[in-house]
Amino acid sequence: MSHEPRLLEVRKNVLKQNDVIARALRDRFRSQGTYVISLVSSPGAGKTTFLEKTLTLLRPHCRVAALVGDLATENDAIRLARSGAPVRQITTGTLCHLEAAMVEHSLNDWNLGQLDLLFIENVGNLVCPASYDLGEDLRLVLLSVTEGEDKPLKYPTIFNSADAAVITKIDLAAAVEFDDLTANANIQAVRPGMSVFKVSAKTGEGMDAFLQFLAQKHARSSQKTTV
């Protein structure tokens, strides 16, 4: 004799705790006028080099800082500190991604009112970070020319969760026969309309266009806050 299973309806969002903290962070960033950009990529995509270059170029013009998530080492934070911007490390231990609570915790004693832009460098991973809202205004996904054009098709979830893509190490594009059109088509396939920037942090190529985009986004978000 078969029984109908007795079901008790609940409907609970498993990531609710993270989302609640992320929402509070977003409100806090907005009220302090801090525009927040997070960066995700696979390990070795050149995230830290790109961020170091970005911080160095931005620092004369606005107040910038960075939080960097790393499994164990502080190497990235030390490298980023060379830009002269305030940098803080979030050591995640065994965790393969950042969560909103870690960002909240590491910002506890920061005066956000003194910051125009805050960058959050996630742990190198193209899977897990997709699930966690960090309260950021803009999520950047980075891929290097050395990773190949099909990266977006292999990791559509993270590309879909991002707001803009940055193709790094373009000084190496010719050497690795990187096919620009295919890469762009693949990005558009998993995230139609996404802005794509091609940069070399080493030579500085493409950085201007990216920084202009960032300035526009920032300006638009400040208008929204003041209206």
């Binding site: 299973p5 309806e9 609940v10 990531l15 899977v127 559509p156 396939a189 309309g193 996404m194």
Partner: protein, 114 residues
């Protein structure tokens, strides 16, 4: 792999709910979106580990896959994506980034021990 910490959250939440209502859990029902960033096989495997030594030990995780539903601006209708590598309307081919469903990671029900 973040599935283990997600599985642990699921077990915690289900256990809390079960205790509050004074019931025993046979299975946890979950809606899992294709865009949730969570790998089903890894989650199922992690769930067993996460249940060990808790009142939920031996319970099952019943996963309902939620496909990606987008809004097609050309058809003016919601549509189910044919492939997550191709964000365009399966009927007219219009590209769209407007996701309606597919990010779910939701406990929908507890199946109770009889």
């Amino acid at each position: 792999m973040h599935e283990l910490s997600i599985a642990m959250s699921i077990v915690d939440m289900a256990q809390e709910e079960a205790e509050r209502r004074n019931v025993r859990v046979e299975a946890v029902h979950l809606e899992l979106g294709a865009l949730s960033g969570v790998v089903k096989e890894a989650l199922l495997f992690s769930f067993e580990i996460a249940c060990d030594g808790t009142p939920l030990e031996g319970s099952r995780l019943v996963v309902k896959d939620v496909p990606i539903e987008v809004y097609c601006p050309a058809c003016n209708l919601p549509k189910i994506l044919a492939s997550m590598q191709w964000f365009c309307c399966p009927d007219c081919g219009a590209q769209t980034a407007e996701v309606i469903h597919g990010k779910e990671l939701v406990i929908t029900a507890l199946e109770l021990k009889q």
